[in-house]
Amino acid sequence: MKIDASPVAMPADPSRDLVVARPEGLYCPPGDFYIDPWRPVERALLTHAHSDHARTGSGHYLAAAPGASILRSRLGEIDLQTLPYGETIHHNGVAISFHPAGHVLGSAQIRLERGGRVWVASGDYKVEPEPTCAPFEPVRCDTFITESTFGLPIYRWRSNDELLAEINAWWRDNAAAGRASVLFCYALGKAQRLLHGLDPATGPIICHGAVETLNRVYRESGIALPPTRKVSEVEDRSVLRQALVLAPPSASGTTWLRRFPDHSDAFASGWMQLRGTRRRRGVDRGFVVSDHADWPGLLWAINATGAERVIVTHGQTHPLVRWLCEEAGLDAQSFETEYGDEEHDGETGEPSAVNDAVADLAGESEPVQTSNPATPGPAEPPPEER
C-alpha cells in the first residue's frame, strides 16, 4: 500500500479500516473476504464481470443479481451467490450491499458497514445514465474507494445521445458510399451500449462471436437490442457493404476482417479523446465513448458520497489523489491494485496512460507482488478500458 503525501493525518488506528490492500486484492479484515481479488481466495465479492475485476479460482463468490448471467458466461462453473441491488446480507458482523455503478450490466458498488462506519468500493463506474444498465447511485459513506481511469481534466465526455448521433452519421455515410463500417470496441458493455443506440434502418448489424455471446446474455436479462447476426449467417454477401460490424479490438488485423474487403474502421474508447492515441491506433475514426467517469464525473461522484476519506485504486491515481487533498480538502490516498494493469499488447496498441499511474506507483514504493494470478481467466479482449 502506498500513502500519498497528504496534509491530513491518517486515522490513528488503521486496524479499524474496513478495507486494506493485500497481495491477493482488496481485503476486509473483520469480514474476512476480498473485493475483486486478482488471486484465488476463499471468499470474493465482485463489482462486475470485466476480467481485471472478476477472476476464476476463488472458493465462493458474491455479486449483484443483475450481473449473475454475465459472470457465469465469463467465469464458467463457479459457486456464485447473488443479491439484488440495495438488499443487505451480514457476514462476520459486516453488513454488505450492492448498489448500481452504471458501468456495465450488473456492475455494482459494494457498501460495507460495521460499527457505524460505512465504506463503499466503487469498482468501475460512469455517472451518465444510459439504457443498458442501472444508473450510478451515489451512496453516502465515510470512506469511498474510487477508480480513476480518466482522472485528468482533459477527459470530459459529451452526452451519450451526441456520441450515438455521430456514430450513426458515420455509418450512414459509409453505407451510402457502399462500404462496411467496422467499429472496434470492448465486447462486454461498450458493444451492447452502442448496439442499443444504433439505427437499424441504415443496414444490417454484424457482430463478432465474442460480442454476440454477450448480446445473448444482455437480451436474456431484458435489455432490448436491435437484431444482430454473425457474419457466417449472412448469405447475401452484398449486404455487407451497408453493414455495421461490431468487433473486439483483438479482431483487428485478423483474417476474420477479410470478409469486409472495403471498409472504414473506427474505435470507440475514452482514450480516443487524445489525438496521439487516436493516431497510434491507426483507424479512420476515433469515437470518444467511455464506460468510465470523466474528470467532472469523478469529482461529482466523490462529492456526492459525502466521504471524508477517499482511496484511489487505479488509472490516473496520482493527479486525483493530489487534487482531492489539496483542492477538496479530503483525506485521500491510493491503493496499488492490478485493475486495468496488464502488459502492453503490441498488436492492439494499449495506450500506456492506462498503466501510467500503476507504473508510477511501482517505481516509487515498495511494490505489492505483481505476478499474475495462478489461474488466468478465459480469453479476453485486450484490457484497454474495461
Binding site: 485528468l152 481534466p153 487524445l274 496521439g276 493516431r279 491507426g282 490516473q316 494499449e350 496512460a353 498503466n355
Partner: protein, 555 residues
C-alpha cells in the same frame, strides 16, 4: 475559421493521401478566396512568427480553466501537445463564432496580437477562446505559438490546387514558390493567381526575384556489397559530384537585382553579403543552383562552422573574415532570362562552367565533377568523403531535365551518402513523446563511458538525444522497460537504471562547450537496439573524440 478547423480535424484524423486531398479540394471549392488564400498558406507549411509568448498563453489558459499549475502540467504531459491541452482544458465557449472565415480570424484577431503587452493580450485571448469550439481552439493555439503543422505534404496541397484550377500540378508548384515565406500576407488575389487558367499564367520570372522550385535528389539505397551498375547501368550516363554539407540555395539575378533563396524558400540574401556582392558581375536573367558553404584554405569547412554563421544576428567584419561563405555552383537554371530546365543536365553543366569561368568571382566555385571510370573507382572515391568534408556522392543523370521537387519523370538525381558515424551508447534518461507518441516514453538521452573498461571508477556521460529509428513495437517494449527501471522523475523526464544499449548513428560531430561530453552530434538516431550486448561494452568518450574532423580538433 470553423470550416478550416474542421478541415484540419479531418486531415489530422485520416491516414490516406487521397482522402486528405479530397478534403482539401472540397474545402477550397467551398471557401471564400481570401480564406482559401490563408488555408493554402498554412497547409503548405507557411508559419507566421509566434504571436503570443508560450508562457503567457499557457498561464492564461490555466487560469481560464481554473487549474493549479501542477495539474495543468500533468495534463500537458499526458497529451503531449500544448495547443491540444489548452483546447481540452478550457471551459466551453460562451459566444461561438460561426460567421467569420479564416482570413478575418487571422487578420483581425490573430496577427494583431504580436508585440502586445501582457495586459492587453490577456483580455484578447479570453475573447478569442470564448468564440471557438475545441477544434477551433486547437488550430488557433497552433497558429498562436507558430507551431502549426498538419499531416499533408506540400505536394498534396499543390495537387489539390491543380485539381481546383484544372492546370498541371507542376505549373501550380511554380506559382507556389515563395508563397509560404514567413512574412507573406496572402490575399484573395494571390489565391486567384495560384488557380488561374494556364493562358493567364501569372508566373513571370522576369518580373520578380522568384526562384524555381528546387529539384530534389532521392537517396540511393544499395544492398551491401552490391554492384551499383546493376541498378544504374554504366558510369558514363551519370555526372558525379561531391555531396556538399551546406545550405542548398538559388542565386537569382534579374533587373539588376540579386536574391538568394534557401531550399525552404526563405530569402537569405542579407545573411551572405559576400555572395550578394557578386550580383554585379552576373548578367541579368541568371539563376544558379548550388550549395552555400564556409570556404577557407581552398577547402570546404565543416557544417558546424556554417551553423555559427547562420546563428549570428550581427555579421561583424571579423566574423565575415573568419567564416567566409562561398557558393558551390552545380546547375544553371536560367540564362539571359531563358528557362534552361528542359535542357539536359550535361548541357546546363557546360553552360554553367563557361559562366563561372567567365565571371571569375572569388566566392563562386564550380562544384567539381568527380571522375571515375568505373563504379569501383567511384565507390573508392566515395569512401574518402569524410576526409574531404563531404557527405558522399551525387549522381545526376546526364540527360535529366531539372524537375520539380522529388519527381522522377524528368530524370533522376541520386544522393549516394556515406554510412553515418556510429557508436554504441547507453540509454539513461527518457521523456514522453509528442503527437502520436504522446504519453509513451520515446525521447531518449544516450551516454558513453568516460573511461576505458579497465578504469575502476568510470561513469556514463550523456552526449546525444534521439527519438527515431525504432519500430512502433520496439518503442512500446522500451516504454515498458523504462517504466520498470525508473530511478527518479524530474518533471517529464525519468532517469532509468542503465540497462539498454543502442547503436546510435549521426551525420556530423563537433566540439561543444555546452555539452558535458564536450561534443555535439548532428541528426542522431537509433540504428539498432543492441539487445545482444551488455552496457559495459558501450563506447567511450575517447572513441567519440577520435571522430572529430581534424580542423575542428585543432581549434
Amino acid at each position: 475559421m470553423k470550416a478550416f478547423a474542421e478541415l484540419y480535424a479531418e486531415i489530422d484524423a485520416r491516414t490516406g493521401t487521397n482522402v486528405k486531398l479530397a478534403a482539401i479540394v472540397r474545402y477550397l471549392h467551398a471557401a471564400e478566396p481570401a480564406d482559401a488564400a490563408w488555408a493554402v498558406y498554412f497547409l503548405a507549411g507557411g508559419k507566421p512568427r509566434q504571436l503570443v509568448p508560450t508562457r503567457l498563453l499557457r498561464e492564461q489558459a490555466r487560469l481560464a480553466a481554473g487549474l493549479p499549475e501542477w495539474l495543468f502540467d500533468e495534463s500537458y504531459q499526458a497529451v503531449g501537445d500544448l495547443a491540444e491541452t489548452i483546447a481540452l482544458l478550457l471551459p466551453p465557449p460562451t459566444a461561438p463564432d460561426t460567421e467569420h472565415g479564416l482570413a478575418f480570424w487571422v487578420e483581425e484577431y490573430l496577427l494583431p496580437l504580436r508585440g502586445l503587452p501582457p495586459e492587453e493580450l490577456t483580455p484578447r485571448l479570453l475573447d478569442i477562446w470564448a468564440r471557438l469550439d475545441t477544434h477551433g481552439r486547437l488550430v488557433c493555439g497552433k497558429l498562436l505559438t507558430g507551431s502549426f503543422r498538419v499531416g499533408v505534404s506540400r505536394l498534396t496541397v499543390t495537387r489539390a490546387l491543380a485539381a481546383v484550377a484544372g492546370v498541371e500540378a507542376k505549373r501550380v508548384a511554380e506559382r507556389m514558390v515563395g508563397y509560404t515565406a514567413i512574412d507573406a500576407r496572402p490575399t484573395a488575389a494571390d489565391y486567384h493567381a495560384l488557380i488561374a487558367p494556364d493562358s493567364q499564367d501569372a508566373f513571370n520570372p522576369r518580373a520578380s526575384g522568384q526562384p524555381y522550385p528546387f529539384f530534389l535528389a532521392h537517396p540511393l539505397a544499395l544492398p551491401e556489397e552490391s554492384d551499383p551498375g546493376e541498378q544504374l547501368g554504366t558510369t558514363d550516363s551519370w555526372l558525379a559530384e561531391w555531396k556538399w554539407d551546406g545550405i542548398r540555395a538559388q542565386l537569382v539575378k534579374r533587373d539588376s537585382k540579386m536574391w538568394l533563396w534557401s531550399r525552404g524558400e526563405e530569402l537569405i540574401t542579407e545573411r551572405f553579403p559576400e555572395l550578394a556582392a557578386m550580383g554585379e558581375a552576373l548578367p541579368d536573367g541568371t539563376v544558379i543552383d548550388g550549395e552555400i558553404v564556409i570556404w577557407r584554405d581552398d577547402r570546404v569547412q565543416p557544417f558546424a562552422l556554417l551553423q555559427q554563421r547562420i546563428g549570428r544576428k550581427n555579421l561583424t567584419a571579423k566574423l565575415l573574415q573568419e567564416l567566409p561563405a562561398a557558393l558551390l555552383a552545380y546547375d544553371l537554371l536560367e540564362w539571359r532570362y531563358a528557362d534552361l530546365r528542359q535542357q539536359p543536365q550535361r548541357e546546363r553543366r557546360t553552360q554553367l562552367e563557361s559562366l563561372v569561368r567567365a565571371i571569375a568571382q572569388p566566392t563562386l566555385h564550380l562544384s567539381p565533377l568527380v571522375m571515375g571510370e568505373s563504379w569501383a573507382e567511384l565507390a573508392a572515391l566515395r569512401s574518402e568523403s569524410r576526409e574531404r568534408g563531404v557527405e558522399g556522392l551525387m549522381l545526376k543523370e546526364r540527360e535529366s531535365r531539372y524537375g520539380v521537387g522529388r519527381t522522377r519523370s524528368d530524370g533522376i538525381w541520386w544522393k549516394w551518402k556515406i554510412e553515418p558515424y556510429s557508436v554504441d551508447a547507453v540509454l539513461i534518461y527518457a521523456q514522453r513523446g509528442h503527437g502520436r507518441r504522446a504519453s509513451l516514453y520515446t525521447d531518449f538521452t544516450f551516454a558513453v563511458w568516460d573511461k576505458s573498461p579497465d578504469a575502476p571508477d568510470r561513469r556514463l556521460v550523456p552526449f546525444a538525444k534521439a527519438y527515431s529509428g525504432l519500430s512502433d513495437a520496439e518503442f512500446r517494449q522500451l516504454d515498458t522497460i523504462i517504466r520498470k527501471t525508473t530511478v527518479e522523475k524530474f518533471g517529464p523526464v525519468r532517469s532509468v537504471t542503465p540497462t539498454q544499449l543502442f547503436e546510435l548513428g549521426f551525420e556530423g560531430i563537433a566540439p561543444s562547450t555546452r555539452h558535458k561530453s564536450g561534443v555535439a552530434v548532428r541528426f542522431p538516431r537509433m540504428l539498432r537496439w543492441r539487445r545482444d550486448k551488455p552496457i559495459s561494452e558501450a563506447d567511450t568518450l575517447e572513441t567519440l573524440r577520435a571522430l572529430l574532423p581534424p580542423e575542428l580538433r585543432i581549434r
